[in-house]
C-alpha cells in the first residue's frame, strides 16, 4: 500500500523540483527524478509535462546542445514550485502531528 502511494507523485512537480537545481535536458531530468525522488518518469510522460510546463511559462528551453535541449525553471515556475512545496509541507506537518497524536512516536 505504501509503495502504491508513489503513484500520487505529481510529474510536473517532480520536473520543476528537478530543474530547480540546474538546467537539465530530458534524460538528465529522468535520471535526477529517479535518483533523488525514486520515481521513474517515462519519455511520453516527461515530454507531456515539459510541453505543459512550457506552455504555462513555468519552464523555458535553452539553446540546444546537439539535439538534447536543456530546460530551466522560470521565475513563475519557481514561484509555483515554492507555493506547492509550502502546501505540501503543511500537509506533511499535519500528517506528522496527527500520526503522533494517534499512534504516538511510532507513526511520526
Amino acid at each position: 500500500m505504501t509503495d502504491r502511494l508513489d503513484r500520487w507523485a505529481d510529474p510536473p512537480l517532480l520536473v520543476l523540483a528537478s530543474l530547480a537545481g540546474e538546467p537539465k535536458h530530458g534524460y538528465a531530468i529522468i535520471q535526477d527524478v529517479a535518483q533523488t525522488m525514486g520515481v521513474r518518469l517515462s519519455a511520453g510522460t516527461l515530454y507531456a509535462v515539459i510541453s505543459r510546463l512550457e506552455s504555462r511559462g513555468l519552464i523555458e528551453p535553452l539553446e540546444s546542445e546537439d539535439r538534447r535541449r536543456p530546460y530551466r525553471i522560470t521565475a513563475a515556475g519557481a514561484q509555483a514550485l515554492s507555493e506547492q512545496s509550502q502546501r505540501m509541507q503543511q500537509v506533511a506537518g499535519l500528517a506528522r502531528t496527527r500520526l503522533k497524536t494517534q499512534f504516538g512516536g511510532a507513526g511520526a
Partner: protein, 318 residues
C-alpha cells in the same frame, strides 16, 4: 548544466517502435519535440512501457494540444479535411437509404398512410435534415472553395487546381460511367433490377446481367471519397486562413449535426419499415451494416467538427 550521457543500449526493435510511435503526435508537437525525444530514446533505451507511454500521450496531445503548440487555423483546416471525408460517407449512406426506401414506390404502398405516421414523419425529418446539411455545406464550403481556387490560379498551381476540381469532376465521371454502363446493360437479355425489386430474401444479386446496385454503390462511395479528399489535400497545401476558414468550420459543425439528425430519422424509419414494411425490409444485416458505418462516420465527423468549432472560437480576452 548536465553533460550528454553515455548512450545505453536497449532492445533495437523497441527503440524503432518507440521512434515510430512519435508519428502519432500532431505535426506541431513533432516539429518542436521530436528530435529531443529521439535523443532521449537513444540515451535511455526503450521498452514496452516507453512505447505505451509515448502512444498514450500522443492521443492526449491530439485531444488536448498544448497552448503554445496550438494553431487554430491549422486545426480548422485539418478538421475540415476530415469532416469532408466523413460527411461524404454520411451523404452516401443517406443516398443509399433514400434509394432503398423513398424511391421504391411499389414497396411504399400502404406504408406511409395514417397507420404508419412514424415512418412518414421520419422521412420528412430525414429530408429536411439532409437539405439543411447540404445548405450548410454550400454556405460554408463554396466560399472557401472559391477562395482556394482563386489562390491556386493566381499562384499557378495546377495540382491544387485539379484537387479542387475533384468534387465536380469525379462525381460527373462516376455518373457518366454508371449511366453508360446501365444503358448498355439494359440492352442485354435481362433488365437491371433495382434494389428490393426482387421478392427474394437476398438482394446481393448483381442483377441478371451481373450488373446491379452493389458495385455501383461501392464505386459511388469510392468516387465520393476521392471527390472529398481533393479539397482536403488542397487545404493542406494552400493553407488558407481568415474568416473563410472560420465560417467553413462552423458550417461543417452545422452540416454534421444536421446529418446526425438525418441519420437518427433514418434509423427510426428503418425500424418502422422492419416492423411494418414489405418482406425485403425485414432483413437485419443490411440495416446493421449501414448502422455500423453510420455510427463510425458520425463519430469521426462529430469529433472532428467539434475540434474545428473549438478552434474557430475567438481567443479569450487577456
Amino acid at each position: 548544466m548536465s553533460a550528454p550521457p553515455t548512450p545505453r543500449p536497449g532492445a533495437p526493435w523497441a527503440g524503432a517502435v518507440a521512434c515510430a510511435s512519435l508519428r502519432l503526435y500532431p505535426a506541431a508537437w513533432r516539429a518542436r519535440y521530436q528530435d529531443e525525444v529521439r535523443a532521449l530514446l537513444e540515451d535511455s533505451g526503450a521498452d514496452l512501457r516507453t512505447i505505451a507511454s509515448l502512444a498514450g500521450q500522443a492521443i492526449r496531445a491530439r485531444i488536448w494540444p498544448s497552448r503554445h503548440l496550438y494553431d487554430p487555423p491549422a486545426r480548422m483546416r485539418a478538421s475540415l479535411a476530415t469532416v469532408a471525408v466523413a460527411w461524404t460517407v454520411l451523404a452516401g449512406l443517406a443516398a443509399v437509404f433514400a434509394s432503398f426506401t423513398q424511391t421504391q414506390p411499389a414497396l411504399q404502398q400502404n406504408l406511409t398512410g395514417p397507420r404508419h405516421l412514424v415512418i412518414q414523419w421520419s422521412f420528412w425529418v430525414f429530408d429536411g435534415a439532409v437539405g439543411a446539411s447540404l445548405l450548410a455545406v454550400a454556405a460554408g464550403g463554396l466560399p472557401l472553395w472559391l477562395l482556394m481556387l482563386r489562390r491556386a490560379r493566381r499562384q499557378h498551381r495546377p495540382r491544387e487546381i485539379a484537387w479542387l476540381l475533384a468534387p465536380a469532376v469525379v462525381p460527373a465521371v462516376y455518373l457518366g460511367a454508371a449511366s453508360v454502363t446501365l444503358s448498355l446493360a439494359r440492352h442485354g437479355t435481362a433488365p437491371i433490377q433495382p434494389p428490393f425489386a426482387h421478392a427474394t430474401p437476398s438482394f446481393i444479386d448483381l442483377g441478371n446481367d451481373n450488373v446491379g446496385p452493389w458495385w455501383l454503390m461501392v464505386a459511388g462511395f469510392a468516387a465520393g471519397l476521392m471527390a472529398a479528399a481533393g479539397p482536403g489535400l488542397a487545404l493542406h497545401r494552400l493553407r488558407p486562413g481568415g474568416p473563410g476558414v472560420t465560417r467553413a468550420a462552423r458550417a461543417a459543425g452545422l452540416a454534421v449535426a444536421a446529418m446526425g439528425l438525418a441519420g437518427a430519422a433514418s434509423i427510426v424509419a428503418a425500424a418502422g419499415l422492419h416492423a411494418w414494411g414489405a418482406a425485403p425490409y425485414r432483413q437485419g444485416w443490411p440495416f446493421a451494416a449501414c448502422l455500423l458505418l453510420f455510427l463510425a462516420a458520425i463519430a469521426v465527423a462529430g469529433a472532428s467538427a467539434a475540434r474545428g468549432i473549438r478552434a474557430a472560437r475567438p481567443p479569450a480576452a487577456a
